[in-house]
Subunit: 354 residues, 2 copies
């Protein structure tokens, strides 16, 4: 099987962590005669913006269209407003390619990584399924009477039947398939249109999955439980914005963004899916070998799973788990001294010895 992969290393630490992910992909390619990958790099991001006045080429989406996958590092740089750098690249790709499922594992690799007392890897092991194409991130709004006392700014979340139903159905399928509970996170008591609708769809679709045990929490309560009782959660489904927030709490309880992987997928494979660490570009530590590449490499594991190469998905994840129990294999964010490059090398070596 051949996969053509578009690389968008992006800004800050993006290129460093993507390089390690590519290292792992090349290792897999070497080890598995049935698999081959080709890589095409795109120079898009904030530096590009500062030179060209745009985050990606005007026909950027067309250029990406025929790849099997996109592997992205991180985007964002001081001097480029975030609502430009992100809406015109990351969010644009997610939406143009209908990557409506954002899969984010929240799993504790080692008890020493969590800031929580008395929690082990058995207590924190969930999969957050975030709606990734519409909702609060639809980008609709108005800005009226700018600069005048009567100024008023509207931001509209758009929740379609199609968009809401498909993400909720995806989550039920996943819970059903893996025999786990499913928790919906919403906020019907205050968001009287969108979240009341969300709750209705969650209940409705649930009728098709009588075997799935469900819970429904308000986003405020859920955020508290992520901290006090993470063991309540197995598969979680939530909206775009709430998914953004709870997965960062998830990163918080599992050791930080250096370990948080994400996949933006179009399950129908009509368009390329995108794999990217959840972390940002962290310009302050860029180019120093300080970045933790594990989130980016974990995203490679997700890529393998998505393309049906679960054997490799599991091998990469197991290798990450095996590695991080040893203190000499940790980057500075986890209190170690290993460099970005060393971590990639060690994971590659371990894969070769499997």
């Amino acid at each position: 099987k051949h996969l053509s992969i578009a690389l968008i290393p992006g800004d800050g630490i993006g290129p460093e962590v993507v390089a390690e992910g590519v290292k792992i992909l090349r290792t897999i390619e070497e080890l598995d005669p049935e698999l081959s990958f080709s890589f095409t790099e795109f120079p898009w991001g904030c530096e590009y913006y500062l030179k060209q006045g745009k985050m990606m080429d005007a026909d950027g989406i067309d250029q990406l269209q025929n790849f099997d996958a996109i592997y992205l590092g991180a985007v964002g740089y001081p001097g480029v407003p975030d609502h430009i750098s992100l809406r015109d690249l990351l969010i644009k790709i997610r939406r143009s390619f209908d990557q409506y499922v954002n899969l984010r594992p929240v799993s504790l690799l080692d008890p020493s990584f969590t800031p929580l007392k008395d929690k082990s890897d058995k207590d924190i092991d969930m999969l957050v399924i975030r709606e990734n194409s519409e909702g609060e991130y639809a980008g609709a709004g108005e800005w009226l009477y700018k600069g005048r006392p009567e100024e008023v700014v509207l931001q509209t979340g758009i929740f379609s039947r199609k968009g809401t139903e498909r993400i909720i159905r995806y989550a039920y399928e996943e819970a059903h398939r893996s025999n786990r509970t499913l928790t919906s996170i919403s906020k019907g008591n205050a968001l009287n249109y969108s979240m009341v609708f969300w709750d209705e769809v969650f209940e409705e679709v649930g009728k098709e999955y009588p075997d799935v045990e469900t819970y429904s929490y308000l986003v405020d309560a859920a955020s508290l439980y992520f901290v006090s009782d993470p063991e309540r959660f197995e598969v979680v489904v939530t909206s775009n914005l709430f998914g953004d927030i709870v997965t960062d709490i998830g990163a918080g309880i599992t050791g930080g963004l250096g370990l948080a992987a994400g996949a933006n997928i179009n399950p129908e494979m009509k368009y390329p899916s995108m794999f990217e660490p959840v972390h940002g570009s962290a310009p302050d530590i860029a180019g120093k070998g300080l970045a933790n590449p594990i989130a980016a490499i974990w995203s490679v594991s997700q890529m393998m799973d998505f393309f049906g190469e679960e054997k490799w998905g599991k091998a990469v994840l197991d290798t990450i788990k095996g590695l991080t129990v040893e203190k000499e294999n940790l980057t500075p964010d986890l209190g170690g001294k290993a460099t970005t490059n060393e971590i990639g090398d060690r994971i590659s070596e371990k894969l070769q010895k499997l």
Copy 2:
């Protein structure tokens, strides 16, 4: 000074915790010859709804109008949809009386209460100032093509210049007055109208307070920092929805909702302000003496502060702090065996011995 207080005990554990708060107010009244309180109880809430078909009287807001303060327990009951029980009572009061400032202390009383490793009361001590009158909770939206495949639901957040500026200014004043840093929590990289506006106003108003050290975090990053680095925060200002979420994380890191107090205030005192614990009605433990009344009593401390009786505000808070260091003074949510009533009695006794 006389204060007329409207009591809305509400549902579930609401009446139990309000009774303890009233006990403390009566104690203060006894001890301070300059202070007197009168109480008028309103039977509103979900039970009322189930009998009368409405959460409060049609002229309920008029009935409350002339009180100095409202003291509310909790609202919500199975069988009454949350978007009715809360929007038609709690949120209605907040908005009708222009209680645009929601003050929520996030302070660790005792290191044993936090689920976080190695955090002491010095690390977690902030005041969250939540916008409380508009924003994401404006209640504006549309529900189109109900039940059809093209169904689409819109939820619009409304951020006015006036509403945004006044909460941000209030927060700067508080940071300036108390010589603390001020952190704004927003999401400009995705919410391209409302939060870009919020960030602009935060910067603009900041020019008037050059002495205040400021930070601005995205809501996802801030949520992570609440868990990993709560010591970053001193005074925090944020929108209605984000304030809802981060204060629940705040409750999570300080020992739970049993300790989370809140004040919904109209700083101009044109309308009554409302004091209420952050927790819900917890119908499962209602009527058993299991509820922790400390959040409700802490709200009484906020009430005293608001009316310029800081001496009592501090006395109540210090008493709470002194009490909770002893294990026999804890309710079941904190691993103790004390009852709701006993906690109220003990705080009252300690106040009398000051």
